[in-house]
């Protein structure tokens, strides 16, 4: 109340303007009003102010009355006009409500009638609607089809290939997780740069041991081996895994094609997929006891766009290791001049060697395709077909014809045969083989110094004395009757009354030649059987389909039958001259021998035959040797 000073602290303060207005209008609360009344009665100033305020109010009301429009004029008309307007409004409202209600009721009745008439169709429609909701909203979608997720992820990859003039750069982080100890270790990063203009890829490996780069043009053999060995730093338990990955030509770029290759030879068809939050989790278990030691391959794919996110390779329960490859970035960038130069096709190996920053790091194998040992590879169906084709033309029996698994995944049949006819026969037989196969078969005159031929693919051929080593072909055996230990006995056995001495000698030569030939063939079949076992060892054929394994078994059985038949034939021939009953000797027959035992026996019988039926400087004890030979033959013949 700025305009009215208080008189004294003992006197109640004057009313404020707002209080005065409320007092004037009777709008004060009761207690406040009574106090205000007492004050006003005793305060001339406030009474005076009340008077002024009342005058102001009166003047305002009077003036306002003059300013207001004349509302009384035509008041009746206005009211009537409003009545009509209200009636119209009321009618429209009722009509609108009625029509809305009627329309809804009519539609509902029609719907009920339709449902009643076509109950099955209505039910089917409702079900279809529910299905559509479930399909398009993922309401209940926790289980998914692994194949469909893989296909969609592949579509994603195709859509995101680098367009012309660009390269894509994919960075993958590699971790090893030990599920036994819970140790989680980051091992390194591999970056793949894909070119849009050429099939060339550039790889950069960054690990604790340093970093190095490789430019690769198509041939991926050995690449995974080199990169993973560098990143994983050579743990012994990693070897079979890396070997398997390399063999499958899997690359750590988390691509779908690579994943398909990874699980192609897992020896199981089991697969499961589920949606776990933002990712689809695809689980591909490997066959129990898989040679790689891998128990499961797991791929995570983003739900939102089906981009492959990470890949885990889990080893068996004993190792309990997880190799996790996580795609940490995928970018596309212009194909810069440097990049274009890097990816120029000619002589990429030189470029890659220039990029290597650590000389101690493993290097890629030579660009030339090289043969691989049996111990480092898995047998393929094509290898079985080659073996079968060679077996068909007896090229497995002592001929220097070998099957080499090559570093680029192809097969090479290389060898040396006596003449072009024989070569043509082998080539003709190999034409039935599918897949990448190269045939290099030489005749002696085509060889310069023998460097054209690879060494046999495994140690077996080096350790075991091959069938040609020291062997004397039957046709070339010198059968000088004068020095052959059993000559007299055979001559006596074959001599017939009336026959001339020369004729008998010829029969002795034929008899001896036949025995030597049988012995030689027996040895060759045993050698082929052993070679087959080495070539298709249980470790190598783990991933083969049953049909291929049956094919191998058939070849094996064939050799065994030949060995048994030839040994029996020899035993019968020799029993005649040794005067020993076959049945008695057969009692010594041992049980079924394996290929090693068979080979030993075959070698022994071959040596014995050669010592008894060919010329020899040191005459053996004919009776003892013959007895031993027959025993060996009986054992083989069983």
């Amino acid at each position: 109340m700025p305009n009215v000073p208080n008189r004294s602290p003992l006197v109640p303060p004057h009313l404020s303007d707002a209080q005065l207005a409320a007092y004037q209008d009777g709008e004060m609360p009761r207690t406040e009003f009574e106090a205000a009344c007492r004050h006003v009665e005793s305060c001339w100033t406030c009474r005076s102010r009340l008077g002024v305020m009342q005058e102001s109010i009166d003047r305002f009301l009077q003036a306002r009355k003059k300013l207001l429009p004349e509302t009384a004029a035509f008041a009746e008309n206005r009211v009537e006009q409003f009545r009509q307007r209200l009636m119209r409004h009321s009618a429209e409202s009722e009509e609108a409500q009625a029509s809305l209600g009627e329309r809804m009721a009519f539609a509902f009745r029609q719907f009920l009638v339709a449902v009643g008439e076509h109950r099955k169709a209505a039910l089917a429609g409702a079900l279809a609607a529910c299905l559509l909701v479930v399909m398009f909203t993922d309401v209940l979608n926790t289980r998914v089809s692994a194949d469909s997720v893989l296909n969609r992820a592949q579509s994603y990859e195709l859509r995101h290939l680098p367009s012309r003039g660009q390269v894509s750069r994919i960075a993958v982080r590699i971790e090893r997780i030990d599920h036994k100890s819970g140790a989680h270790r980051q091992l390194g990063t591999i970056v793949e740069v894909r070119d849009s203009e050429t099939p060339i890829t550039y790889w950069n490996v960054d690990s604790g041991a340093g970093s190095f780069g490789r430019t690769v043009n198509g041939n991926l053999a050995g690449l995974t081996d080199v990169m993973l060995r560098a990143v994983l730093q050579g743990q012994p338990s990693d070897a079979p895994v890396i070997q398997y990955l390399d063999q499958q030509q899997w690359l750590p770029d988390i691509s779908i094609n690579g994943f398909r290759r990874l699980v192609a030879a897992r020896g199981s068809s089991e697969v499961s997929a589920r949606k776990a939050g933002d990712v689809f989790e695809l689980s591909y278990p490997f066959a129990t006891g898989h040679s790689s030691g891998i128990a499961e391959a797991r791929l995570l794919v983003n739900v939102s766009d089906y981009a492959p996110a990470s890949l885990s390779i889990l080893t068996s329960a004993e190792e309990a290791q997880e190799y996790r490859f996580t795609r940490i970035s995928t970018t596309t960038e212009p194909r810069a001049v440097e990049m274009a130069h890097l990816t120029l096709p000619p002589d990429v190996a030189d470029l890659s060697s220039q990029r290597s920053s650590e000389s101690s790091l493993p290097s890629l194998p030579a660009r030339r395709v090289t043969p691989l040992g049996y111990a480092d590879t898995q047998a393929t169906v094509e290898e079985v077909e080659v073996a079968e084709a060679l077996h068909r033309v007896d090229a497995c029996l002592g001929e220097e014809v070998y099957l080499f698994p090559m570093s680029d995944g192809s097969l090479l049949v290389q060898g040396l045969v006596d003449n072009p006819v024989r070569r043509d026969a082998i080539r003709q037989s190999l034409r039935s083989v599918n897949g990448p196969l190269k045939v290099e078969i030489y005749v002696p005159r085509e060889l310069k110094n023998g460097s054209e031929l690879y060494n046999p693919p495994d140690r077996f051929a080096e350790d075991a004395s091959g069938p040609t080593e020291g062997a004397v072909p039957a046709a070339l055996a010198e059968l000088s009757s004068a020095s052959m230990p059993l000559h007299d006995r055979i001559f006596k056995h074959l001599a017939r009354s009336g026959a001339s001495s020369d004729d008998t000698e010829k029969e002795v030569a034929i008899f001896s030649s036949e025995v030597v030939t049988h012995a030689r063939q027996t040895f060759l079949h045993a050698w082929a059987l052993k070679k087959l076992d080495r070539e298709f060892s249980p470790q190598r054929i783990a991933g083969l389909p049953p049909s291929a394994i049956r094919q191998l078994e058939k070849i094996r059985q064939d050799h065994q039958n030949w060995i048994a038949n030839l040994a029996q034939r020899q035993a019968e021939m020799l029993s005649d001259i040794a005067d020993l009953p076959v049945a008695a000797s057969m009692t010594e027959a041992a049980g079924h021998a394996d290929s090693d035992a068979l080979l030993r026996l075959a070698r022994e019988q071959n040596d014995l035959v050669r010592s008894l039926f060919t010329t020899s400087q040191q005459a053996p004890d004919a009776n003892a040797s013959l007895s031993r030979l027959i025993t060996v033959l009986h054992r083989m013949g069983s």
Partner: protein, 189 residues
């Protein structure tokens, strides 16, 4: 229908309608009766905001149509008078905002009235009217609305409901408005 609504209306007014002869009337007639009774004061208030008799008439009728709709839907309205003033106030404010005449409404109204009255008003009355008009111009919106509503006979409570302000604020706006009016008037005098 509408027996219930009629009863409520009677309670709200608490006046002569308490023993209403229109107890059994349809709602339309009840609303028309209310319109006839309240039209002058509501029209004055609306006119003061929009500055046009025709537009003010229309706004008042619209407010009653809304009242009819509310009562038809059995909505409970505790104080029909303050409800109507509030609806009219909001309609009028919306109207002048739509027309972009928010600030000039009063001036137009005053100018319009002055011209109308010029030919038939004595010189003294004209001078007094101009003084009042000029005094009203210095009032701000809230003060003007409060004074006008109070002049229409609304209680502080009802004014507060119409304008969405407290009882205390109403007394403050009223006193400030009267003070300005008083000072201006005194200076002119």
């Amino acid at each position: 229908m509408d027996q219930e609504n009629t009863l409520k209306l009677n309670q709200v007014f608490g006046m002569e309608q308490a023993e209403s002869p229109r107890r059994s009337e349809p709602l339309e007639e009840t609303v028309v009766g209310l319109y006839a009774t309240m039209r002058p004061s509501l029209l004055g208030y609306a006119y003061q905001i929009v500055g046009s008799t025709g537009e003010a008439e229309d706004l008042v009728q619209i407010a009653f149509l809304k009242l009819f709709d509310q009562l038809s839907r059995k909505a409970q309205i505790l104080n029909v008078r303050s409800w109507l003033y509030r609806v009219i106030h909001n309609l009028a404010i919306d109207h002048i905002r739509r027309k972009g005449i928010h600030e000039v409404a009063v001036a137009e109204w005053l100018a319009h009235r002055s011209l109308q009255e010029t030919t038939r008003t004595a010189e003294d009355d004209l001078i007094q009217q101009q003084r009042i008009a000029q005094s009203l111009e210095v009032l701000n919106e809230r003060e003007r609305y409060c004074l006008t509503l109070r002049a229409e006979g609304l209680s502080y409570q009802e004014i507060g409901e119409v304008l969405g302000i407290s009882h205390k604020a109403v007394s403050v706006y009223l006193s400030r408005g009267l003070k300005k009016f008083e000072v201006r008037d005194a200076k002119r005098a």
